[in-house]
Amino acid sequence: EAGVTQFPSHSVIEKGQTVTLRCDPISGHDNLYWYRRVMGKEIKFLLHFVKESKQDESGMPNNRFLAERTGGTYSTLKVQPAELEDSGVYFCASSQFANTGELFFGEGSRLTVL
């Protein structure tokens, strides 16, 4: 069974440009999450989808970040325009249930904004 897959693994862009990160959850997992780790700091929650609906986006830093989950399958996280402080590793995770047990994480997408 395929795990959570993320693309790209690493992206380097200039300040002001746009980047779109993609996440494919484990098949059958209705719950999808985005987390972010800024260099050297803790991994922080960004948002939670149940199928195609945003359940909780309380962790999104500002309106330059837009997350979507078309048809309840894969999800994208767009940063537009990117700023230096957006650099970090963006993790996607999925789970069958939202309130117990384990989140299954992808390898992360490393974003470097120059």
Binding site: K41, E42, I43, F45, T100, F105
Partner: protein, 112 residues
Amino acid sequence: AQSVTQLDSQVPVFEEAPVELRCNYSSSVSVYLFWYVQYPNQGLQLLLKYLSGSTLVKGINGFEAEFNKSQTSFHLRKPSVHISDTAEYFCAVSPGTYKYIFGTGTRLKVLA
């Protein structure tokens, strides 16, 4: 609100020696506790979790952790480490939701 403290940012240890990675948390409600590991160029992998029951939890790859409610700790231990255990380890808590609160991570470096 919850918080997690991993005081050791880096821990060097010789191969076959024991290791303890420390994790302390703060919470006004009951929490679930987790240890995740990130090997180089890989995603976060669950090592072990405490949801309820026995306070000594055994995980994969010979790791174990003990939940100590009075000291609000969940330290990770392994009696004998291998080179392959070199990775970054994250402690996390959850009040029973998907909003995990992570520590800043501990880089374990196993030396030959």
